[in-house]
Symmetry: C2
Subunit: 139 residues, 2 copies
């Protein structure tokens, strides 16, 4: 994130600084973050991909509301070598305008969301906040 | 992946089988996979995010050609707790029609691509192949 004074605001005390995240290589400004939720592959662990896709993820999106623009979901197939287990059996990402918006929604709905995890897995997810650098290279 | 005989191909020896991956919850058929490349956070390690975004990733895309529809790039900011290091300092994903197409391009260009890694990091990436379940929830 690059914080700078908005053009024309120099010396104007009521002008707020503007946070600008440079996204991609084309100079377009945005301020997207990703919340990555990753379920480490664990021998013998349980993961119900259908429940995750059809029930859990739509419920989380509805609770996040406008704090989340959209989400992505993927299922781990293999590691680098064919047949080797993937690092993560499932991953999702919530693409949001800000970490603050996500956190505020989780303050309100986190208990319900975390309480649903046992319905599809016994794996404890790894979570991280990331800055979107290239949302998709063809846009 | 569901492999089935293309309609009208029954008993026709020169008709190839068609691979169909069911994507999302809406019944639309697709055949997207993701190749996730993840750089584990390592204390004191080097990662040049500008080189990665501006030089490495466009080079890889050009070598993958049509085998890769588009890619995404993100920069790890923090773990679950504010200020905690992220699991991965950087992640990218190549969204491709098939693992076979990606592998064929890597057979040809893998040495050049791997040879460029030292120009931006000394971290060995974790790689996995994933099936796209929801490409983006708002489409």
């Amino acid at each position: 994130m690059i914080t700078r004074t908005a053009a024309g605001c120099e010396g104007q005390p009521r002008c707020a600084p503007v946070s600008i995240a440079m996204v991609g290589t084309d100079g377009k400004a945005g301020r997207m973050i990703k919340v990555n939720v990753m379920y480490p592959y664990t021998e013998g662990a349980r993961f119900d991909h259908a429940y995750y896709r059809d029930r859990h993820m739509p419920m989380v999106k509805s609770r996040l509301g406008n704090a989340c623009a959209y989400y992505t979901v993927e299922k781990g197939v293999s590691g680098r070598a064919p047949g080797a287990p993937p690092a993560f059996v499932a991953m999702c990402a919530f693409i949001c305008d800000s970490a603050e918006g996500y956190e505020a929604a989780m303050q309100e709905h986190g208990a319900e969301i975390r309480g649903d995890i046992a319905n599809y897995t016994d794996i404890a997810p790894v979570l991280q906040f990331s800055e979107v650098i290239v949302e998709r290279s063809d846009r």
